[in-house]
């Protein structure tokens, strides 16, 4: 197909766990938003991070991406300490969300150049990446068109490619697929599969339970705690459910 990714530089990843956290906690005054969560994510894994609105997903993800300092607990993301090396973490991860990713009034090329620049790529590197992305996504003809003029599916794949412009170890996808067009969604998951196959770790938050079934493993947060963590198949067995929706309903009620 027409997606691109880069093999990850092995020397930066001596072990195969790209996320390891233990007892990670975040308190706001008396309110414990994230309550001692512990889990590990393997390199090349597609890890689904689920929970109802207000379960603590966003707070947990902010800690993992170096945006918020944990109140207690410890952990490493992309080889760096979540307490002491949050700036290094930010350099080694990619982030894409449905709400914020591309600048609609910049062209496709300008967006790539902008994000390449932010992540400190040289002019030459940006040039190479730009032609790679345009070619792999078959966007060469619209390179100088504003992003706003692209169909949703193209925008989404471009945003995904741009989030990996600096070859991060992990890409965090924060509620990536709104709109739920069945065609667009499948193209996007193929791009995710391809990135994972090349060794990129994918960390996805979503509240669409049927979407969770695309992940290798899923954790489900309820009131700040991880209440379940396993493959979709095992979770369905464990909760005697036929779909992730049912698993979620059993846990959340």
């Amino acid at each position: 197909m027409f997606f691109w990714t880069y093999p990850i530089k092995q020397e930066t990843m001596p072990n195969t766990k790209v996320i390891q956290v233990a007892g990670l906690t975040k308190q706001f005054g008396d309110f414990v938003a994230v309550d001692h969560i512990s889990f590990e994510v393997e390199k090349g894994e597609i890890f689904g991070f689920l929970g109802a609105n207000g379960a603590g997903k966003t707070t947990a993800m902010r800690m993992l991406t170096g945006l918020s300092k944990p109140s207690s607990g410890k952990g490493k993301v992309a080889g760096f300490d979540v307490l002491k090396e949050s700036e290094r973490i930010k350099e080694r991860i990619g982030y894409m969300s449905q709400k914020f990713s591309l600048y609609e009034d910049l062209t496709v090329k300008e967006n790539i150049r902008f994000y390449g620049g932010i992540y400190g790529l040289s002019r030459n590197q940006i040039g190479t990446k730009t032609s790679q992305i345009l070619e792999e996504l078959q966007l060469s003809e619209v390179g100088t068109k504003p992003v706003r003029s692209l169909p949703l599916g193209w925008k989404q794949r471009l945003a995904f490619a741009v989030s990996m412009v600096h070859e991060p170890e992990i890409v965090f996808l924060d509620e990536p697929t709104g709109g739920v067009d069945p065609n667009v969604r499948r193209q996007f998951w193929e791009a995710i599969y391809q990135a994972a196959e090349l060794g990129r770790t994918i960390f996805v938050t979503t509240h669409y339970m049927d979407e969770a079934e695309y992940c290798d493993r899923i954790s489900i947060m309820v009131s700040g705690k991880i209440k379940a963590l396993d493959s979709p198949e095992n979770l369905k067995k464990q909760f005697k459910a036929s779909s992730m929706d049912q698993v979620f309903l059993k846990l959340a009620r």
């Binding site: 709109g179 069945p182 667009v184 994972a196 196959e197 969770a212 079934e213």
Partner: protein, 306 residues
């Protein structure tokens, strides 16, 4: 007389055809689902039927009334819950409800029966500002407000978008009980899995209706053989199956792949073939099509490659 009757409605926004000759009918007491992704034209159709937007072509009747000639009367008789919440964020729960009752010339007490089951769930928070409610509670309040004047037809534009699985389920349970009160409901959703909760559905994409039928009938009419194929190396298998001569289409579906074949094959023979190609752990089973399979199939026939 049908609750809603739409005949050949079209609508353009500049050069974009938002609705392309839409025709459908909704019966009294029927729960009718308009199923399609963003940009399909669902909200445009809702605005036309609720007399907020004029169609460029075609005619429609709501509760037997013409959408242009009788627009004032229609506005009294329909309940409308637009995609974005229509509540006044800086009024309390109670104030929102009495506001809507007042502008329709009624009182909360007069039609309390109709909203009772829904309203009791948010009544403990009646002094709270609507802006401070959770997504699920806002949705219940918005539905109560759309019902307070006892409408004969209810328009719900993506009521479950962005709310979690628990609230979604509760909301569909509420719709079921409203239907029993003989209110016709037209509800739109991008979630294919909600289709089976409707009496009848229309699949819509890029302004065109792909198909109208009862969900069960639609699934039963899926013509080609369909298989669920499962393995540990999903992406490898996807690439492999895509180039096989017996493959009509193959798409990721959560944990497995859905394979549509061009000819009748047994699951065993597919399994055998894949094993001989090195997919040792593969499991193949013949399955019934779901609404999403139907949608994807029809949308490919219609030439969509989003």
């Amino acid at each position: 007389m049908k609750a809603i009757s739409i005949q050949n409605i079209s609508k353009w926004y500049k050069d974009t055809k938002a609705l392309d000759h839409i025709s459908l009918e909704v019966g009294r007491g029927q729960l009718f689902g308009l199923i399609g992704p963003d940009g399909a034209g669902k909200s445009t159709l809702f605005r036309i039927l609720t007399t907020l937007l004029l169609a460029d072509e075609g005619e429609a009747f709501v509760d037997g009334l013409h959408i242009e000639k009788d627009y004032r009367e229609i506005r009294k008789r329909v309940g409308y819950m637009p995609g974005r919440f229509s509540l006044y964020q800086d009024l309390s729960v109670e104030e929102n409800l009495s506001f809507f009752a007042t502008i329709f010339g009624t009182t909360i007490a007069e039609n309390y029966d109709l909203i009772k089951d829904i309203y009791v769930q948010i009544e403990p928070f009646k002094k709270r500002l609507a802006g401070k409610l959770s997504g699920g509670m806002k949705q219940k309040l918005a539905l109560s407000c759309a019902l307070i004047h006892k409408p004969s037809v209810l328009f719900l534009d993506e009521p479950t978008t962005g709310v979690d699985a628990v609230s979604r389920k509760e909301f569909w349970d509420m719709l079921k009980s409203l239907k029993e009160k003989n209110i016709a409901i037209l509800v739109s959703t991008p979630y294919m899995d909600e289709a089976t909760l409707c009496d009848k559905i229309a699949l819509i994409q890029e302004g065109k209706i792909l198909k109208i039928d009862e969900p069960e009938a639609m699934m039963a009419q899926f013509e080609r053989p369909l298989f669920a194929v499962k393995t540990n190396s999903t992406y490898q298998l996807l690439k492999h199956l895509r180039v096989q001569s017996f493959t009509h289409s193959v798409l990721p579906f959560g944990e497995c792949l859905h394979l549509v074949t061009t000819e009748a094959l047994s699951p065993e023979s597919i399994q055998e073939q894949l094993r001989s190609q090195g997919f040792i752990d593969v499991e193949v089973s013949k399955i019934r099509a779901g609404i999403e399979d139907v949608f994807l199939d029809l949308s490919h026939k219609a030439g969509n490659h989003a």
